[in-house]
Point group: C2
Chain length 383, copies 2
Amino acid sequence: MKEKLTLMIPGPTPVPERVLKALGKHPIGHRSPEFQEIVKSTTNLLKWLHQTKGDVLTITGSGTAAMEAGIINTLSKGDKVICGENGKFGERWVKVAKAYGLNVTTVKAKWGEPLDPESFKNLLNKDKDIRAVIITHSETSTGVINNLEAISKLVKSHENAIMIADCVTSIGACNVPMDEWSIDVIASGSQKGYRMPPGLSFVAMSQKAWEANERSDLPKFYLDLRSYKKAADKNSNPYTPGVNLYFALEEALKIMKEEGLEAIFKRHNRHMQAIQEAVNAIGLTLFAKEGYGSPSITSVIPNNDINAEEIRKYIKNKFDILIAGGQDHLKGKVFRIGHLGFINDRDIITVIAALEASLDHMGVLNKPLGTGVAAATKILINN
Amino acid sequence: MKEKLTLMIPGPTPVPERVLKALGKHPIGHRSPEFQEIVKSTTNLLKWLHQTKGDVLTITGSGTAAMEAGIINTLSKGDKVICGENGKFGERWVKVAKAYGLNVTTVKAKWGEPLDPESFKNLLNKDKDIRAVIITHSETSTGVINNLEAISKLVKSHENAIMIADCVTSIGACNVPMDEWSIDVIASGSQKGYRMPPGLSFVAMSQKAWEANERSDLPKFYLDLRSYKKAADKNSNPYTPGVNLYFALEEALKIMKEEGLEAIFKRHNRHMQAIQEAVNAIGLTLFAKEGYGSPSITSVIPNNDINAEEIRKYIKNKFDILIAGGQDHLKGKVFRIGHLGFINDRDIITVIAALEASLDHMGVLNKPLGTGVAAATKILINN
């Protein structure tokens, strides 16, 4: 039943009916007082979500635009930066930094492994001139969560560096207290934990980030955050924003507020645990190093050399659940289950049941049918 | 009745119910074959709309992003460019060009007057090194249409220059045959003639524009059109696009195809004429020079020194029609009636009736009530 397809990829994620209804309303003028009220309300809710007193600016564009904005608004040509690279998105920020002529040192970890804070410490200690550390918090390509808290605290004690974090699949899934952890720039996108469609992205800026902005000389116009800040101070936008996406954003953030941050984080953690337990119980292998599983996405290596794409396709065609494949060299090697945003316990049970069914269908389920569902259920009912 | 507000501003424009319904559907995976079909279909329809065999690329972002992309993907630092400047948007492209270190010569005309092709001819004739001419076709801030055809033909015969045009409020309103007029880059935005909400923008690129791209050295990442072209050749996008906006785009372009280009252009022309006749009949003054009125927006100077904002507010509050005010130094001096996109004869009649009513209410309607409506009606029923 193609019309009943549900999304368990790491974005776009499922969208509540209330949000879709808001999205489908007739647009209004983006310079009207009615729209200013929406900008005001969403800005306040975004600050709540980021746990910050700083600015959170909304850009019409994808998460990549937000991340690029964070980089090019705080740095200058030739600036020394350290980029963490342990997946596809880490690689992307290296490309952005190089496209603008930054002087990039990379701290690498194998895909599936987390970045080691010690490596950042050593580099920061020996060079006062480093201007930024750029990392991906939850690496969507591998399902690994990096220790942003530890790395950000190292950056805080450095003389000149700011902390720039891609929190695209961590904001709205786990705790990312921007001010408490001293993160200077956070980028995120609407089609993730926000439980709304893609098209808006967000850049949060600390006071230290704005200070860095004053010396930034990289050319920019559409992504010049000074224009967004100036407009945001009047509850407006510098250019025509995605008006209908704003309607959806307001509704989505209200739903998040109703659920509450603690409950959101707990739900994602339970779902991550349930999937991990189920995967272990049926004898497949978790791709992320133990203890570093992302709260929003779990990468799994199939057993018996099965091509992961076959599992993905069977689950899509038979059970109308879209899960993600591996990216780049992981294509066919892993599949990825998204459990981010508007996901409930039923979704977790069904995706595990579908996974077991696909393995059984291929003749490689080495445990009785229901083993995975039982393991997941135990976590879900006891937590 | 605030809930029944209708838009007659130059964007966002009214959106058909079919498009809103498409917008409000549940998102699908942006890497799925189902979505690739949508990219393929919209790309073909965009080429039809632009009357081109070249590429039309879709960016998630506002029209400003598309225009910036057109400039930074074809030019290099220090390049000599000529910018036409006879309104707010002309000014904006000068700012973009300067932000990226281009060497800008401006050709100016008073707001309300069109750009003079002769001025471009003189500059192009005396300098072989000019790399681009950048103009706004329909200047939204003043309601003036510039002679893009004539200017583009001058550029065609120049050795090195390409023609970059902001067609944000002309595409889908009047004839802009990209290939026939030898326009190299056309930028536009979804909330205008496309009759869908804001959030997507479009950059059309000729072969000559791609040749210019090969020597372009300006830094870019999110707006790097090579990534969009590479992805578009596989019916995909480089970054997560506004998936729901794509649903709306497909439906909107289908509606445009059903109406047909000739019918669309004729309708906009009739509406422009009807409003112009009505404005003259009731003794107000058209801001644009005669013969240079935009097919999508008409700027009007009120009589008896009435503040244009008062007329705008009265029409909004009493008749639930949102028209636009003047921008920058024209604030209070003019109001602007948008007649772009999903606008029918009834809308034209009602906005003129509302205008007459507001003047009557203020005691400055110097003609019998109904004079404007009569003038508009004559055009509408006889054309």
